[in-house]
Amino acid sequence: MTFRLKPAMLKIAAAAWLLGATGAMADTTLEFTQWWEPELPAGSLRAIMDDFEAANPGIKVTLVSGPYATTRDQISVGAATGTLSDVVGLDGAWVNNLNAQSALADMNPMMDASGFDKSQVADIVKVDGKAVMFPVASFVYPVFVNLDLAAQAGVTKLPSTRAEFLEAAKKMTIADKNQYGWVLPLSLQTPSGVQNDMMSWVWASGQSMMANGKPDLEGKPVVDMLTFVKSLNDAGTISPGIATKTEQEKVEEFVNNRVGMMIDSLAHVNLIRKRNPKLNFDLIPVPVVENYTGKRGLPYASWGIGISAASKHQEEAWKLVQYVMSEKVNAKLVSLANAFPGNVNAKPDFVTSDKAFGKAFEIFKTGYLANEFTGLPVAEDLMTQFDVQAQKMLAGEQSPEQAAAAAQKGWMAKF
């Protein structure tokens, strides 16, 4: 008996060793680089990954987390050296560069092979026809209005058009009291003000800064927007210090009752309430050009997700992407992040429990997500170039048409 068992046990042990060595029995470990974990409540993203691991035995997820800027640099270098993590958190502004480096996998074949319902996702970011990113969570940018300042200024109807916005901004401005109608952050340190506070006016009216995949900054929509911003500046309604103002300072001014209106991320609602619990504010969509009745484009920033082209575990990585984009998991994740979902069927819990978020969710549902910088080459550089030209215009050195022409020339060199 013993004599017969021994060879059998040896065979089993040898087979197990072989399977282990070839990876057939080993766990697949996915590396997931993102900046979300530090921005979410402690342990919450890990808990979602634990649930994924429980639902997918044999797949483990290692989270590689860091602040946004560090993650961006890490991903750029990883793409160049072929060491990009299997699954990566993405900002729409990065995908063009990463695609140029052939660093991102095309998720189209994965979607087709798994029968993935494309209609359930809010957006699929494509570059050169390749599906490279899904927005997981979107942080939309509506207009925040200080209702007390509006009431004091006699603004009874919140602005819906640009002309109404200009009038309201004029009424709310009392320069002697350091009180202004609007705030525009155009610091070159973080030129995102171009996207969030300037181009948002274009997208809100269903317009575009592009034409046939190329910049169209000299077109009517952008020139009109620049003219409108200039008119706000000429009327003295913009809080001073535009050229060095950052987004954080913009929020601080709003919190401290120094500006009546600002375009800002919905993610800041809780911060604003914490900084000034007595602040009485409401959210409205970005006003549009006269007589526009179509759907409003809603500027947004997003947490995107993609798969590395160099990943050896693309099948498992796709399972993780599908999991994060699924209705329930996506709702859970965006509820934690105070963001809007990447899955159109997901409903975050805060929209029913919080009036402001509920209002913003209505704006979100009646409009569409719009951010034309997503997928553009060196998006931050484009914003910087536009920023410099806008600063020149606001300093009185050039007209809106000249600013648009100069920015167009700079942008074309990058395409």
Partner: protein, 298 residues
């Protein structure tokens, strides 16, 4: 001792110092030389870092930055920022050092001033930037005081106006950096023999004559050494400018460090950023060689 043993012993004696030095040389090589050589290499490549197979670019990236008017504006701003900073660091540092070294000031007051004057040195660049942003913002304390005493008629956007931004960041840097001079010169002043001043008193020298003919010549080695070091360090200042103005408005405070940073992390043009970094390295190297030669001459 045989000839073979003698030559072996000689060889051991010759190699021994290098063996003792080897850990330091290895660390210097890895931490200083390797990154420098790598960046120099990147400046001659196309799509450095971003491509696994970058091609040789020759001097293309150097040509590109030399053709860029923003680079020349940055160079000019860097020189203005550095020269003004060094001159005022030295002047203010000397004035405060003389004050703290003077017997005419009450010792208690002197100790209080010593603490007050050295305060800017205790703050990090980020804190200094935040302090000055708050002070110099259009609705800030500085404008309020200047308007109350009638020096300005309306709010000045110190950091946001192209006319004033470079002067404002230079001012903030002067405030942040004078304590280095003050402390070094104070140490130098305390080392000047009292006999010199007594002899000058007997000769009937006036205070300014003692300053010109005794104090300054005695402090000259410190002044030159610290000025050169300050010049090299100030030329590379980044966080103060980045946080206060980001190089703007309209490139008016763009210096070589912010110009290089934007090329690398905004344009992702790491080849050109490397070329720009090499230019900064060459300027710094020239100043360092000058400093080393001066130190050797002493």
């Amino acid at each position: 001792m045989t000839r073979q043993k003698r030559s072996h012993h000689k060889l051991k004696r010759a190699v021994a110092p290098y063996l003792y030095l080897s850990p330091s040389l290895l660390i210097i090589g890895l931490l200083m030389l390797l990154p420098m050589v790598t960046v120099i290499g990147y400046s001659f490549q196309n799509s450095a870092v971003l491509r696994r197979d970058p091609s040789f670019a020759g001097l293309k990236h150097y040509q590109a930055i030399f053709d860029d008017p923003v680079f020349w504006a940055s160079l000019w701003h860097t020189l203005y920022f550095t020269c003004m900073s060094v001159i005022f660091h030295m002047t203010i540092g000397m004035a405060f050092a003389l004050m703290l070294n003077s017997d005419r000031i009450n010792p208690t007051l002197r100790n209080i001033l010593r603490v007050l004057y050295i305060l800017p040195w205790l703050f990090t660049a980020v804190i200094i930037a935040v302090i000055w942003r708050l002070l110099l913002e259009p609705n800030g304390v500085v404008n309020s005081i200047l308007m109350q005493i009638g020096i300005i008629g309306s709010k000045v956007e110190w950091f946001s106006s192209p006319e004033t931004a470079l002067h404002a960041v230079t001012f903030a840097n002067i405030w942040a950096g004078y304590p280095l001079f003050m402390v070094s010169l104070l140490a130098g002043l305390q080392g000047i023999p009292k006999d010199f001043y007594e002899a000058a008193d007997i000769d009937g020298a006036k205070a300014y004559q003692k300053l010109i003919f005794i104090t300054i010549p005695q402090l000259m080695p410190i002044i030159i050494s610290i000025s050169l070091l300050d010049f090299i360090w100030t030329m590379q200042v980044f966080p103060l400018i980045w946080i206060t103005t980001g190089g703007g408005p309209i490139y008016s405070t763009e210096v070589l460090s912010t110009y290089t940073y934007k090329l690398a992390f905004s344009s992702y043009n790491l080849s050109q950023a490397s070329a720009s970094a090499v230019v900064i390295l060459l300027i710094s190297l020239g100043l360092t060689l000058f400093y080393i030669r001066y130190q050797k001459a002493r």
